[in-house]
Each structure stands twice: as structure tokens, then as C-alpha cells.
Symmetry: C2
Subunit: 414 residues, 2 copies
């Protein structure tokens, strides 16, 4: 059996994801799809709309065969680190292919760009350093450095989010000597090639979330853009937990944590650098919402995403000493947590199990808690906005729930 | 002018306090009353029903002339430390007398008890140590040690809360070589000597709070037990802040803090000793209320009050390194924060100001924030249950509000 790996957040799973999934299989001819998915917090430093379990169900019910969790220490990081973790896990799960969506759409151009940058890596990195010293953000500096290499039409545009991620996937594959073969599928919401999709059925996850919050979680206004299964899952989540998660609901906790922590304690948090602790403490007193706080602290140097991630690490108490114990081991995940599998996924897993050289976690409670502390803290934190009575159950399930097992033929859970 | 000092929490100010206040003046012949009052958190490790500002108003409107704050590092401690701080501050404010309520009511008996224990201090402390090693609580061990000295009727009963405090006041006066002359007034809710009061007008603050929470903050059910001014203040507080404060409303924050802190971080918190951090982390996951949590963690060794204080220190992030920098300086407050004064209080303060050898804080914002960090953290924490929009104002006021100035003749604020 040959597997194609995909790197996902599914926040929430929508028609565009379904298209990408189908294309990933058809383009590569793979027998199954393996997804490494962010947990309860995402790359932009935000809480997921619904829990990883709910999003795992969306994945399984739409054709993913194996869902594993991208650990917090990769999932909530800049593109490079995020990609390192995701690629390492897909590689350990013996995926033959990687298939990612991108604005560009041609894998050759990605390879050209990677070669260009690697060939000029010294100069490239030097420009990034120099530009950042002037006080601009990392993405901006990277873009400037790239342009100084004069990329032409045979290269990708390295300033769109999915191109950036794709570039780092390829870089990680190269650096990790992975044998995974990369493919890319162009993301263009307006003119997908498949005739089943029109622009009235594809919308970005961002716009779907925005609509949901603006329209008081009315699922009907987004129903054209999501599969029925996603609709059902979101409906059930709102019914059970009373909400969809967003930063604003965690602002109270963030404020509490920032105000009652000393500057020194804050400076021990990952991504709190260069006196950000002073800025945060000073500005959060008067801010009455997370958005207002972000507006007040942002600078040319720090993008909103970068600041959101810093806030998230404060919220989950992710300290430098824990999240980055050793730079050299950065791209080496130390465990793989299973979230769900179809029947095919299960038999695939059985066939490769012996070759996986790090622990495969089925039940959290039987794993060394210290080794997975960041993910546990993420779940604790994520649960804090739930009603008290439901939260205890939510937390208990995190420790005791085995991976979801989905029968794709009978369309039900085992 | 001669001042009598009182040590108070006023949670809330009730008729019994009013009686004590009047007796303090008449028994000592003092010209004014100085109160050292706990801030937003109290000796039993609980939040005050209403803020220190609201309670300062109750004090001023009922005859207190000067209100200063007992710093967090004394206010939330066992009787001995609490008393050391309170006596030191009253002494620095040049009070001629101390007047405290007690179950016993005779100052001579307090002196007898103090002499007895001091004469046998070695044996007394040894018994306490030995008994505590058996796993019983500090108050219980103290009581056993005291009984082993065979105190007779000329001595006080050292197991009732106000006798214990009174004993420590006298001990602190003695150890600090204070010239304050101690007086005590018997607390007996049923038969006060003053005919104006009957049992139908006196109730303990505990029973008043209990009634308020059980009856959905209906002030009318406690109106017979509190002065009209207290009624008005409570009414205004509920109107402005939407609530009366209690532990249960902070449980969410406590849970968040305990769950996301490492064992090591918890063990750095003051009063977290002997592996309490493991017990707390284990038991808080399933607890759905603060009360349930307390029931699950309490042992013969730790009284509920002791555990509440430990939880409070976690909540306010009061670390061992901050709250107790040097054991030898334990009874030396390093500042006095003014909360309010009457006209007499103000002129008294003017007359003694030059003799006060530590900073007298009128406005928090102009004082070194690091030196008063614990009190600031207490206010931050206390404010966390207020609605977002009101909280910012509440915090700003803490930094910018000058002491309340009350004109006792015109019965209004200046």
C-alpha cells in the first residue's frame, strides 16, 4: 500500500479540502491518505474553532485514512519549524508522497526556488539578518532576500502563505533526506478545474470562520462551502460545548497571566524576546479585547501572527526551557499521537508499525506525561472556556480516549 | 492627640464592628481610631466580599479616622505573621493603644497566657514540632502544647480565633518593644452590655456573607445586622460591579493556573510544601467547584484555611522568593499605604508624618512598583472576575486614586 501525506489544520474541513484530498489521491495514485493535523491550537497562534477530536471526525468522514497530531511544539510555529515537524512525522509514517496546496501549483518551480536559495544560502541568510536588524519582520526580510536573488517566472512567489509552506516542506524533505515525493495542487478558489466545484462552493476557512462569528454561529450561512459531515460536526460541537473557540474568549486568561507574571517569568516564555514582556504588561492593562491588545502591541518588527503565537505560548505556559530543549534536535519529533483511522488506515498502520522508531501513542494516559507536557497544557488551556461541568469530562477524555476508528464502508464509528 | 489602633477586615462592616469601634474609643479615651485593614484578600485566604475601597468607605462613614492597608504579605497569613505586620504598622503610626475584640475579654488573662508560654517557650515549641511531625495541623498542635502547660482559669482559651489573634498581638507588641497599650473587648453576640444592641442586631460577618450568597445577594435579609452605610455601599458595589466576590468565581483561574503550571513552578509558590503541588494538580482536574476541590485535598495535616491560603498564593502568583525574602525582616513592613482618612485622621497624620520611618504611599503610581508587587498582583487577580469593560477602570483607579478624604461633620467626601 502506498500512502500520500497531507499537512492540515481543517479549521474547519471545507469543500476546498475535499477537493485537495481527492486530487492528492488521483494525482499520486496512492491507496490512502495520511494527515498530520494541528491539535487544538494552530499555526497562526489561534485556537481551533472546534477540538482536534471533532476535526478528526471531519477528516475521517471525508476520506482521510489516518489522522495523527502535529505536536504543539511544531504546530504553533513559523513555517520552517512547522514544516520540519510535519514532514518528519509523515516520513516516519512511511508516506510515499506528499501533496500540498499552493498558490503556484507547479512542483518544478518550487524545486527551482529551493535550488536557487540553497545555492545562495549564505547571501540569502545574511540579507535576512541585515534587514531584520533594521526592525522589519522575518517574513518581510525573507521576501526582500529572495527578491535580491532575482527569481524569474520559473520560480515561485515566496510571499503567499501556501507557497511559503510548500517551500519549507520541500526544504525539509531535502534536509531530512526523506524519500517522499512532493506534489502540489494549485489553490484558486475562483476557477478550480474540477467542474463539480464552482466559486459558490469554495471559500477559505478564514472566510468561513469570519462568517460564523459575525452571524452568531449560524451554520446555514456557510453550508454551501462545507460538506454535510462538517455541518453536522459543527452543529454537534455547538450543542455539546456551547461554542466555537476563538481568541477573544481566552483574553481574560491571557490578561490574568500577563498581569500576575513577573517580567522575568514572561521572558522565560518561548517567543518572548527583546523586551516584549514589558510591552505586553504595559499594554494589556487598558486593552478591553484581544484584538485591541494586538493592535496596541504590533510593530513593524512583529507581525500579528508572530505576536499571537507569543500570546499563545504565554497562555499555555510554554517556556523556552521546555519547547526548545536542544536546537539540533529541532526536526526530530519524539512521539506520534494517533487521533483516528479508517479501516484502510488501520491496516496500513499495522503494516508499517514495526518500522516506526518513536512511540506511537494510542492512549495518552499510558504515555510519560512529562514528554508530552506541551500538548497536555494545550488541551488544558483550550478547555478553559468550556462550562465547568463539561470541562472535566473534556479533559478526562483527552487522557482516556483511544483513537477514533471509522468504518468507511458502513460510514460509522467502531 | 492620642490614637487607638484596631486591626480589621470589615468583610463587611457590621453592627458588631460599630460597637467595637465605639468601645475602643470610650475604654481608652482616645481622640481617634486608626484601622489597619486587609486589602482585597483576607486572612482566611479568601477574596473580600467587596474591594478595599468600598470597605474603606464603610470604615470612614462609621467613625474610623485613618485607614491603611495591611500588605498582602501579612494579610493572608497565619495569626502570628498577620499580627506581626499589623502591630508594626500601628506602632509606626504612633498609636497609643491597641483595642481588639476577643472571646475572653480580659487583658490580664492574655498577659498571663503570654507570660506562661514565654516562660516555657522551649518546651512549648518542642511539643508543637513533635505533634506536627505526627501529621496534625499547626493550630491543633499549638492547642495541645498550650494544654500541656496546664493553663487555669486565669488564662485564656487559646483555641478560639479572636483569642489566638489577640495573643499574637500581645506577643508582637512585646517582641517589637512597642509602647502600645493593649485593651480587649469581649465578643459575645448574644449579650452585649450596650443596651442599644440585642442579639437581633448582631451577627458575625461570616453569617452575613453566608446569608447574602444563599439569598442571591438580597441585602434586605441582612439589613438589621449592618449600618445603613454598609447597606448603601454593598448596594452600590453590586450595581457597579455586578457582584460580591467569592472563591467560587475564581476557581476557573485557579484551575487554569494549577493545570498549566509545572510541579516545579507550583513548588516555588509560597505555602506549597511537602508535595502539595502533586496533590493539587491531581485533584483539581476532576473538581467542578472550589469547595469540592478543598474537600478533596484537605487532610488532618492541613486545615482548610491553610489550603485556601496556598490556593490564594497560587492565584496571585506569590512566590517564595518574593513573599519571604528574608526571615529576619519578617515583622518589618517596608511601606504604609493610605486608603482613607477623616478630617481628624488627616490632622493626626500631619502631626506624626515626620516620625514615620518608612514610605507612606498616597498614590500607587508614584511608588516603586517592584516593592509593592504582591499588593498589585492581588488587585489584578481580584479584578479578574469583573466584566472586561469595568475591570480596566478598576485597575486604573488602583494606581491613580488618592486616599479617600471624608468630612465626618458634613458626612461627605472631599
Amino acid at each position: 500500500m502506498k500512502a500520500v501525506g497531507v499537512v492540515v489544520e481543517y479549521n474547519p474541513f471545507h469543500n476546498g479540502h475535499e477537493y485537495h484530498l481527492r486530487q492528492s489521491k488521483s494525482q499520486t495514485g496512492a491507496d490512502l491518505v495520511v494527515a498530520v493535523m494541528s491539535g487544538n491550537f494552530l499555526q497562526r497562534g489561534e485556537p481551533a474553532l472546534v477540538s482536534k477530536w471533532s476535526r478528526t471526525k471531519m477528516a475521517l468522514e471525508n476520506g482521510i485514512d489516518l489522522v495523527v497530531e502535529l505536536p504543539y511544539e511544531y504546530a504553533t510555529q513559523k513555517a520552517e519549524t512547522f514544516s520540519n515537524g510535519a514532514i518528519a512525522i509523515l516520513d516516519k509514517l512511511k508516506c510515499s508522497y506528499l501533496c500540498f496546496g499552493s498558490e503556484h501549483g507547479s512542483i518544478q518551480s518550487f524545486n527551482n526556488t529551493l535550488n536557487l536559495i540553497q545555492k545562495n544560502s549564505k547571501r540569502f541568510n545574511e540579507i535576512i539578518r541585515t534587514e531584520m536588524k533594521k526592525g522589519i519582520s522575518y517574513p518581510m526580510a525573507t521576501s526582500l532576500a529572495y527578491h535580491s536573488l532575482n527569481p524569474e517566472s520559473a520560480y515561485i512567489n515566496l510571499s503567499t502563505p501556501n507557497n511559503i509552506l510548500g517551500f519549507h516542506y520541500l526544504k525539509a524533505i531535502d534536509e531530512q533526506n526523506s524519500k517522499m515525493q512532493p506534489h502540489t495542487i494549485q489553490r484558486t478558489s475562483a476557477n478550480y478545474h474540477d467542474e463539480d466545484f464552482t466559486s459558490s462552493t469554495i471559500a477559505s476557512a478564514t472566510s468561513i470562520r469570519k462568517a460564523l462569528f459575525e452571524q452568531n454561529r449560524n451554520l446555514f450561512i456557510v453550508q454551501d462551502y462545507i460538506p454535510h459531515t462538517t455541518f453536522k460536526e459543527l452543529e454537534k460541537y455547538i450543542e455539546t460545548y456551547g461554542q466555537l473557540h476563538r481568541w477573544e474568549d481566552y483574553f481574560n486568561l491571557l490578561k490574568y497571566k500577563v498581569l500576575t507574571s513577573s517580567h522575568e517569568e514572561l521572558s522565560n516564555i518561548y517567543e518572548i524576546e527583546e523586551g516584549l514582556e514589558y510591552r505586553f504588561k504595559r499594554e494589556i492593562i487598558g486593552a478591553t479585547s484581544f484584538n485591541e491588545f494586538m493592535e496596541n502591541v504590533k510593530t513593524k518588527r512583529y507581525t500579528r501572527t508572530r505576536l499571537q503565537r507569543a500570546c499563545l505560548h504565554i497562555l499555555t505556559n510554554s517556556r523556552k526551557s521546555v519547547i526548545k530543549p536542544d536546537d539540533n534536535d529541532w526536526n526530530k519529533p519524539t512521539y506520534i499521537r494517533l487521533l483516528g483511522m479508517s479501516k484502510i488506515g488501520q491496516s496500513y498502520l499495522r503494516s508499517i508499525k514495526k518500522e516506526i522508531d518513536i512511540p506511537l501513542i494510542s492512549k495518552l494516559s499510558s504515555f510519560n506525561q512529562n514528554r508530552i507536557q506541551l500538548d497536555i497544557n494545550a488541551t488544558y488551556t483550550y478547555s478553559m472556556v468550556l462550562p465547568e461541568a463539561i470541562r472535566s469530562q473534556f479533559i478526562k477524555e483527552e487522557f482516556s480516549t483511544p483513537p477514533l476508528r471509522y468504518d468507511e464502508d458502513k460510514e460509522k464509528y467502531l
